[in-house]
């Protein structure tokens, strides 16, 4: 309580920029504290179990799933997604690729595999557990989403266009919130995601555990929820649009060592 009143006193005496600095420092301290108490590893463990669990009509596990580095290779796979996959002839991010493996390898129907892609605090989804496990296998690997194949370049351009595309009931675009420096909503800094220096730390820590609702969240969920907040129609899971946006953001963040799955407020 003493420190709290001291902060107010400082705010009263000094110019606004110093106050803003203070707030930023306090937010950083808070973020560090929640990161230290993160239960992310529990999701990784559960994800590993699911990865190895035989499922679907074919009763096989996902262990033969090719995430871009060869069947079953997980080390560094997440850091190099989204990328172009020849067998599917499209650019895929992690969850899209997992869905592909569930339908091809395990023989599950798309409807069944996507019935519950976003979980809740009582029952996280399969995608959430799997993302936690697979992303954890890329810790320390530099982000290098595909950006050479014509389809990858096309996805990047489409993602960029979508990022700045204003529409919906409120006539908003991603850039309405993430297009200007030094903006935040309550405790959340709003990173200017088309700029590499802002996109890098963000993309290097998703997917992530959110302490405010005790849930593990994937990138597909993050994009879906941004569209919900903008009052757009709901984007389809693993659609071309969400993959394009993810490609645009991850390519922008290229070079950053992956250090997720992260912990968010």
């Amino acid at each position: 309580m003493t420190r709290f009143s001291a902060t107010i006193l400082v705010l009263g005496l000094t110019a606004i920029p110093a106050g803003a600095q203070d707030t930023k420092k306090e937010i950083q301290k808070y973020q560090q504290m929640i990161a230290e108490g993160s239960p992310v590893e529990l999701f990784e463990l559960e994800g590993e179990t699911l990865w190895k669990k035989p499922q679907g009509p074919n009763n096989v596990s996902l262990e033969k799933c090719d995430l871009g580095q060869g069947p079953g290779v997980l080390k560094g796979a997440y850091a190099r997604l989204p990328r172009y996959f020849k067998d599917a002839d499209r650019v895929m991010d992690l969850e899209t690729r997992l869905l592909h493996c569930m339908t091809t390898l395990q023989g599950r129907s798309r409807d069944e595999a996507t019935k519950r892609v976003f979980g809740n605090e009582n029952q996280p989804s399969e995608m959430e557990y799997l993302s936690a496990y697979i992303a954890s296998q890329s810790r320390g690997v530099r982000l290098a989403a595909g950006n050479s194949h014509p389809k990858e370049k096309e996805a990047y351009e489409l993602g960029k266009a979508l990022f700045f595309y204003r529409a919906g009931a409120w006539d908003m675009s991603c850039a309405s919130c993430h297009g200007e420096d030094n903006k935040r909503i309550r405790m959340q800094d709003l990173p200017v995601l088309y700029k590499p220096q802002a996109a890098r730390p963000i993309m290097a820590t998703w997917p992530a555990y959110r302490v405010s609702n005790s849930q593990f969240k994937t990138m597909q969920w993050r994009l879906n929820d941004c569209y919900r907040q903008m009052r757009f129609p709901e984007p389809k899971f693993a659609s071309e649009a969400t993959n394009a946006l993810n490609t645009f953001l991850t390519v922008t963040a290229a070079g950053e060592p992956y250090r997720g799955p992260g912990t968010k407020r």
Binding site: G37, S38, P39, L42, L45, E46, E121, N122, V211, S214
Partner: protein, 98 residues
């Protein structure tokens, strides 16, 4: 069925730092249609000898993480952490100090 636990124990010159994660819903009685369900007791053993007996309340968050330092402890020592909740469910994890 109790969900997974994870633990790390590291010797840091004279003390042992332990960090343990538990999967648990930790529901309070304040939520509608959710039965009271929380971890009640946590026991920490060092080489079979009880060093901490803790009572945990509903105030602790879902999927709790506990960090603490134990006096002494050398590499290879066995640290065991177990919990029991109000429904009698329990889980245990054991690890060697690294």
């Amino acid at each position: 069925m109790a969900g997974p636990m994870k633990m790390r124990a590291t010797a840091t010159g004279g003390t042992t730092e332990v960090r343990v994660l538990m999967t648990h819903p930790m529901t309070t009685a304040q939520m509608k249609d959710q039965p009271l369900h929380f971890i009640q007791n946590v026991v920490v053993k060092q080489n079979g000898k009880t060093v901490i007996e803790a009572e945990i309340s509903q105030a602790v968050s879902r999927n709790p993480v506990f960090s603490f330092r134990l006096k002494g402890g050398a590499k290879g020592d066995k640290i065991e952490v177990s919990w029991v909740d109000n429904k009698g469910e329990s889980n245990t994890i054991e690890t060697a100090v690294a």
